[in-house]
Assembly symmetry: C2
C-alpha cells in the first residue's frame, strides 16, 4: 500500500523541481528575472501548481534564504573546526565567510540585500540563529583565551560580523578592478585589527 508514499514522493519531486528551476533562473539571470510563470514553464506544469507548494513568490525566495544561512553556517563551522586557537578560528572563519559570499553571490544578495523582500522577513528565519551561535561562541572562547572576559561578547560579536558583512558587501557593489589577493588583504587587515581589539 505504498500509494500515499508514491504520492508524497511525486509531490516532493514537483517541489524540488520548482526550486531547481527557480535556482537555475536565479543563477542565470539574477533575482529580478525570477518569475512564477517561467518556473511553471520550466517544470511543464500550469501556474497554480506552484501555489500548491509555496504560498507565494516570497516563500520561494525565503526558502533559498534559509538554504543560504544553512550553507553559511556549515562553512563557518567547518572552517572553525580546522584550527583550535580561537584567534586563528576568527581568521579562518573570516576567510570562509568571504569565500561563501563570493562563491554564492546569489545567496548572499538574497540574504543581506537591503530592501529585498526576503531580507525584510529575516526574523522569520530560524536558520540565522545557527550562524549567530557559531559566531557568538567563538567570540566568547576568544575572549576567554585572551583573559578579557570583562569585554561585552555581544558587542564584539556584532562588531566581528559587521566588519565581515561590510567588507563583503562593499566589494560586491564596487566590483572594481582590484585583484582578489588585494581584496583579501583588506579583509585580513581588518580582522587582525579586530582581534587586537579583543586583546588577542
Amino acid at each position: 500500500m505504498g500509494i500515499v508514499e508514491r504520492k508524497m514522493r511525486h509531490k516532493e519531486e514537483i517541489r524540488t523541481g520548482i526550486l531547481g528551476a527557480a535556482w537555475h533562473m536565479v543563477v542565470t539571470d539574477g533575482w529580478q528575472s525570477l518569475s512564477i510563470r517561467k518556473i511553471a514553464d520550466a517544470i511543464e506544469y500550469s501556474i497554480p501548481v506552484i501555489y500548491n507548494h509555496f504560498e507565494n513568490k516570497e516563500a520561494i525566495l525565503l526558502e533559498f534564504s534559509k538554504e543560504g544561512y544553512q550553507k553559511l553556517a556549515l562553512a563557518l563551522q567547518e572552517s572553525k573546526d580546522s584550527v583550535t586557537l580561537p584567534a586563528d578560528q576568527l581568521k579562518v572563519m573570516a576567510i570562509a565567510y568571504w569565500d561563501f559570499a563570493f562563491e554564492n553571490k546569489e545567496y548572499y544578495q538574497l540574504m543581506f540585500g537591503l530592501g529585498i523582500p526576503a531580507c525584510e522577513m529575516v526574523n522569520q528565519i530560524t536558520e540565522i540563529k545557527e550562524m549567530t551561535s557559531i559566531l557568538v561562541s567563538t567570540i566568547r572562547e576568544a575572549l576567554i583565551q585572551a583573559k578579557n572576559e570583562e569585554a561585552d561578547y555581544f558587542l564584539k560579536y556584532h562588531g566581528y560580523w559587521s566588519i565581515l558583512h561590510g567588507l563583503v558587501s562593499i566589494q560586491m557593489i564596487e566590483n572594481s578592478g582590484k585583484t582578489d589577493a588585494f581584496k583579501k588583504m583588506i579583509l585580513k587587515d581588518a580582522i587582525s585589527g579586530f582581534c587586537r581589539s579583543l586583546a588577542l
Copy 2:
C-alpha cells in the same frame, strides 16, 4: 521674450513634480511600490510624459541614489569640520554616517541594497567619489597624525567604510529590540578599535 524660459520652468516643474511624487511614494510604501503609472496619476499627466524626463524607471531611482550620495557627503563633511583632530573626525563622521543611514533609510537602502537595480550601476554615479574623497583624506590625515604613514591608506579607508556599512546594514535588517543607545555603543566600540589599528 521669456517664452523659452517659461517653457523651461514648466518642464522643470514637471520634473520636480515627478521626483516629488516618486519620493512621496517611496517614503510612504517603500521602493517596491514605486510605479510609473502611480507617478503619472499623482502628477496628473499621462504616462509617456514621464518618459520625456527620464529614460526609464531606473533613471529615477538613480537620481535618488545620486541625491543620497550628495546628502551623505555633505553630512560627513559637516561633521568632519566640527572637530580638528583626525582621530576625533573619524569618530564624529562615524556617528554622522550612522545617523544619515537611519534618518534616511530609503536613501541608504537604495544606495547600498545588494541586488537593487540602482546599486548595480553604482559605477555610473560620480557623486560617490565625493564621499570617497572625504573618507580617504581623513584617513590620510589620521595616519599622518599618528606618524604611521607606512600603513596603506587605501586599505584603511576601505576598512573604515566597511565597518560603518556593516554595522549600519546589519542593524537595519535585524531591527531587533535593542535600544538606540546600545546600537551606538556597538558603533563606538568598533570605531575606537579601528582607530587603535591606525596607531591613533
